[in-house]
């Protein structure tokens, strides 16, 4: 399968008062076109920081300090590849929500409490689909049944012709600032709202034309998460990143949302990058899995291989700590705690908790090696 996005050696540090938190230590991952990639690991291991680094929306005081995030717009062809970390902020603003979008953990906090649902979804269209919408409005305006006072119609046609050509034109910015002239945007907003209604209808929300006028506090958690998904899906992104999108929902809603994501992958989006700490979800929905520990990627494999034949000691321990029906006696957990990333352990960051730790583990960081086809492990137990 052709690659969609490839991150290489991403380093992200947080400059806090306690010191530098080395949240990502040269992490790389590849998401293929059409695949669902699962990223698992304990809380605080850097999963969220990783995907936020890929979108360049790491919060203050975090800084992305190295690496590459290459997005392949057209399959695996190098000439269409773009390194996102080298692009301008304006380029990223254009890309976010348009080609890559993200859904968040806490639906209750992820929506702006004082903006209506419709306005929040419309924003996506107004940021990325102005040209397209202006063209549509021009067609509507020139249709015979459109009844607008003629001089006004002429003015609107002129403005929308400019908007269809270059939505960031200086004249439009000026017009939007002048009180009465700014009304030209009304049609644009109406069109965006119509598109919002269409998108939430697809997400099987009842009564979409009424829901868009509501506010987040009127909706239930599951509904809010659907709205968050609607915002992310608005512009048909190539990659949807779901950052623990189901963690805070109850089980039935969780199942509904996962089903929804699966369906959407067939019809609307190319690939999904799913972050979770629930291995059950990974087994059900993902094609490939990456296991992260303390800012490092330990193991990447296809989902069956990882569950049947885990290689890295951390992956093994993680899988053993999942409760099973056939379980007898105490549930096994991993000894010790996640290290403080201000001063992470030397060498392999897992060595203090690893039962197979050797002398070399304390000294050098293990290279990632391919032990079988498409199965990468970063551990000193395996040599090239």
């Amino acid at each position: 399968m052709p690659k969609l996005i490839q991150a290489e050696d991403v380093v992200t540090n947080f400059y806090t008062y306690e010191g530098v938190v080395k949240a990502l230590n040269k992490v790389g991952l590849v998401v293929d076109h059409g695949a669902t990639f699962g990223l698992v690991g304990e809380s605080g291991c850097g999963k969220s920081v990783m995907v936020r680094s890929m979108m360049r929306i790491v919060q203050e005081p975090g800084q992305i300090e190295g690496g590459k995030v290459v997005l392949f717009f057209n399959g695996d062809q190098q000439q269409e590849a773009v390194d996102l970390l080298q692009q301008s902020e304006a380029y990223m603003e254009d890309l976010r929500g348009n080609h890559i979008s993200m859904i968040f953990q806490e639906p209750n906090a992820a929506l702006n409490p004082i903006m209506s649902i419709g306005d929040q979804i419309s924003e996506s269209f107004l940021f990325h689909r102005k040209k397209e919408m202006s063209k549509k409005i021009l067609e509507d305006l020139s249709a015979d049944d459109c009844r607008v006072f003629l001089p006004l119609k002429k003015l609107q046609q002129t403005l929308y012709t400019i908007a269809a050509d270059n939505p960031k034109s200086f004249i439009l910015i000026i017009c939007s600032k002048i009180p009465i002239l700014s009304l030209w945007q009304r049609r644009l907003k109406r069109e965006a709202l119509q598109r919002s209604i269409d998108i939430i209808r697809k997400l099987s929300i009842s009564n979409p034309s009424e829901t868009v006028h509501r506010y987040p506090h009127n909706l239930s958690g599951g509904m809010k998460q659907r709205i968050v998904i609607a915002i992310a899906l608005a512009c048909h992104p190539m990659l949807l990143i779901a950052d623990e999108a189901t963690s805070n929902l109850d089980v039935t809603i969780q199942a509904q949302i996962l089903e929804l994501l699966k369906d959407l992958k067939k019809t609307e989006i190319a690939s999904i990058l799913l972050i979770t700490h629930d291995l059950g979800i990974v087994a059900e929905t993902c094609d490939r899995v990456g296991v992260m520990y303390a800012g490092n990627l330990c193991e990447v494999a296809d989902v069956e291989k990882l569950f049947q034949n885990p290689q890295h000691p951390y992956t093994k321990a993680l899988l053993e700590s999942v409760p099973k029906f056939s379980q007898e006696g105490r549930l096994r957990s991993i000894d010790g705690a996640v290290p403080n990333l201000v001063s992470p352990p030397s060498g392999c960051r897992f060595h203090p908790r690893c039962s197979h730790a050797m002398e070399i583990c304390k000294q050098t960081f293990p290279e990632e090696i391919e032990i079988e086809e498409n199965h990468m492990v970063a551990c000193h137990l395996y040599v090239k």
Binding site: F104, I114, M115, S124, A232
Partner: protein, 343 residues
């Protein structure tokens, strides 16, 4: 929304009633003789004090006296002010424009500048812009108003002789008083009347007299609003919905001004409403120091001379102002926050 406003509006009357009862009960703590003494003008009258108490009904039960007082109140019959040597209502009408004019300029300035500086400080927090505004805020917040006013007077009146205390220069004051046919007092606000009459020199002179009082009154409140707005802004910009907006592709300007600032304004509106109400009723220090004969100056002098009718009237006035400001804040609140509007 309309139901919400109506409810708050009716509630306002309940509060005003409560305030009036409270003010009246404070008055009732004085003995009837003490209250009758207010009406005494000569030693002869002093001998007839018991009759005076009887004729004024000062020994009647509380509620009868209260309703009598409210009846007088509705006829704007608020008693006689010794300080102003006029009936309280007449004096009030002449002092109000002076205070009103001061607040007409200072309230919008302090709200707009305070919120604006707070927003900037919050967006660029921990940069040099933020450090400068914070130092400014700490200085003006901790500097007592009277001290700051005196420093300003010392510099601008004492050394440079540009901004003098008072309301307007004497020459103009006499002119306005002597020429009612040439100079119409439409609003009794000197700057606005000056412009309306085409006498820009009078308006300019009044504005020069206003400058220092406005600066004094505005600084401390800007400092306070700035700090509230800054912390509220920092809190909002670290919330999850900001991350959603960024992931949507919103630019910095949209995030800061459309998403964060509107949310950050919710707590600030409350504070701003209160501060506006207080500065309307309590420009006491400013008016006394700059000898602007407005409500604050009048109240200060009335308090010194125990001019009880004035103090009661002013308490009532402050109560009404604060209750009105509260209503305005509630409406603004509902306008900004749908959670209140729709519940």
């Amino acid at each position: 929304m309309l139901a919400f406003i109506t409810r708050r509006f009716l509630f306002m009357f309940v509060v005003v009633f409560g305030v009036s009862v409270l003010i009246f009960s404070i008055l009732m703590t004085f003995s009837p003789e003490r209250r009758a003494a207010v009406y005494v003008r000569s030693p002869q009258q002093a001998q007839n004090l018991p009759q005076l108490v009887e004729s004024l009904g000062l020994n009647d039960p509380f509620y009868i006296q209260y309703f009598r007082w409210v009846k007088e109140l509705t006829h704007f019959n608020l008693g006689y002010s010794v300080v102003a040597a006029r009936p309280v209502w007449d004096a009030f009408k002449s002092f109000l424009p002076v205070t009103l004019e001061l607040n007409l300029y200072s309230v919008p300035i302090m709200i707009i500048v305070g919120i604006w500086l707070g927003t900037i400080s919050g967006i660029y927090h921990d940069t040099y812009i933020d450090h400068i505004t914070r130092i400014f805020a700490i200085i003006f917040w901790s500097l007592p108003t009277f001290l700051f006013a005196l420093i300003l007077l010392m510099i601008f009146y004492g050394y440079f002789e540009v901004f003098s205390p008072g309301i307007i220069s004497d020459a103009y004051s006499v002119y306005i008083h002597d020429n009612p046919d040439k100079y119409t007092q439409y609003t009794h606000l000197l700057t606005i009347d000056g412009i309306l009459n085409g006498r820009f020199d009078i308006a300019w002179d009044a504005a020069k007299h206003l400058f220092l009082p406005v600066v004094t009154q505005v600084m401390v409140i800007i400092a306070l609003l700035l700090r509230v707005m800054r912390s509220s802004m920092i809190e909002e910009t670290s919330k999850d919905y900001i991350m959603t907006a960024r992931a949507k592709g919103a630019d910095k300007k949209t995030i800061n001004f459309k998403h964060a600032r509107k949310n950050a304004l919710i707590p600030v509106v409350t504070v701003a409403g209160w501060l506006a109400a207080f500065s309307m009723s309590g420009s006491i220090e400013v008016e006394v120091i700059f000898t602007r004969q407005g409500l604050g100056w009048w109240l200060a002098n009335a308090a010194i001379q125990l001019d009880i009718p004035v103090i009661m009237a002013m308490c009532m006035f402050m109560g009404i102002i604060i209750v009105t400001a509260n209503l305005a804040v509630d409406i603004l609140y509902a306008y900004i926050d749908p959670r209140i509007r729709l519940s």
